[in-house]
């Protein structure tokens, strides 16, 4: 899935913030330790993500109980 790669330090500025009237940002970490948000979140009028790279997101490997 194509997601929006965050710049260094950008992730912490989004935690606990709304990207629209009712939905919160949820940055997630990829396999390389970089942080991403969805393109839906990047449509936020409060923040400018126009310079952020859009690339395929490969999630960080975790091994939850299944």
């Amino acid at each position: 899935m194509i997601m929006v790669k965050l710049f260094t330090g950008q992730k912490d500025s989004l935690i606990g913030k709304l990207f629209d009237d009712h939905q919160f940002f949820n940055p997630v970490e990829n396999i390389d330790g970089d942080w991403f948000i969805s393109e839906t979140e990047a449509e936020s009028k409060e923040f400018d993500f126009s310079s952020n790279e859009r690339i395929e997101f490969v999630p960080k490997e975790i091994n939850p109980i299944i």
Binding site: M1, M3, D20, D21, H22, Q23, F24, F25, N26, P27, V28, F36, I37, S38, E39, T40, E41, F57, P59, I62, P64, I65, I66
Partner: protein, 263 residues
């Protein structure tokens, strides 16, 4: 024209259940078809003695995050009312709320160890997405301290399931759409209904998770195993007997049909 003739010409309105009206007002549902569907859902749940089994009911009606967040059972805009809080890239439409499989989940604020009962519990969801046996996703739930409280349609060819106990693997529920109901009905037995087909399992209850239930992922302290499915209903509460579960299936199917989004 006589007074009686005037009265007989006045438009007749059906009485709306007060709980349905409270939800319609809170969620600002203005579409008459949606209003009627919500009212009938409440009437049916009450008529079949299921309403009292519910702690949270999420009809996902109205098409936006603003309307989808409300708990039909308690439509206050409070965490204590188990009003949903959405995170990440959900897509909201008249068909429900679709998670993105990467970072979208909804926090119900319902904690099994605080808000639920050990030996009587249910989770349900209505997925409109058939992934076949390729999905590796949890649809709703929580896991903490070795205690499970989650449901899923499939993790590949299996479904890992548990309510207030450990977890175990069953054959996947395929297709991964329609109503899925998972229950603990007493201290030693679980059952699951997928599209009204029942599976029973012996399992001793242990303890309840102390984490909040998420929809669209499982809460392991943080969300994991994100779903890509589109949800048109979800509920949390105590268990139903087989007759009630059968009636619940028909009620929810009729609800979805009235909104032209049944699968």
């Amino acid at each position: 024209m006589s007074y009686y003739n005037l009265i007989s010409l006045m438009p007749k309105t059906s009485a709306v259940d007060p709980d349905a009206q409270a939800f319609i007002t809170a969620a600002a549902i203005t579409d008459p078809t949606q209003q009627s569907a919500i009212n009938q859902l409440v009437l049916d749940l009450k008529g079949y003695n299921i309403w009292s089994k519910m702690k949270a009911i999420y009809p996902f009606v109205g098409g936006t995050s603003t309307t989808h967040k409300w708990n039909l059972k308690d439509p206050r805009d409070l965490d204590a009312a188990f009003r949903l809080q959405f995170f990440g890239g959900w897509t909201h439409s008249s068909n429900g709320a679709q998670s993105n499989g990467s970072n979208a989940y909804a926090d119900t604020f319902y904690i099994p160890s605080v808000n639920g009962l050990l030996d009587s519990a249910h989770l349900s969801c209505y997925s409109r997405t058939d992934l076949g046996l390729t999905g590796y996703q949890v649809d709703m739930g929580a896991y903490s301290g070795g205690n499970s409280h989650w449901i899923m349609y499939s993790y590949g060819s299996v479904a890992s399931l548990g309510i207030n106990g450990s977890y175990f693997n069953e054959p996947a529920f395929n297709p991964t759409n329609g109503l899925l109901l998972g229950q603990r009905i007493n201290s030693s037995e679980l059952n699951f209904f997928h599209k009204n087909n029942k599976t029973s399992k012996s399992d001793v209850s242990t303890s309840q998770p102390s984490s909040k239930i998420y929809i669209g992922a499982r809460n392991d302290g943080s969300p994991v195993l994100y779903s890509t499915k589109e949800y048109a209903f979800a509920s949390i509460g105590i268990h139903m007997d087989d007759t009630e579960a059968n009636n619940f299936y028909n009620i929810i199917q009729n609800f979805q049909t009235s909104l032209s989004r049944n699968v």
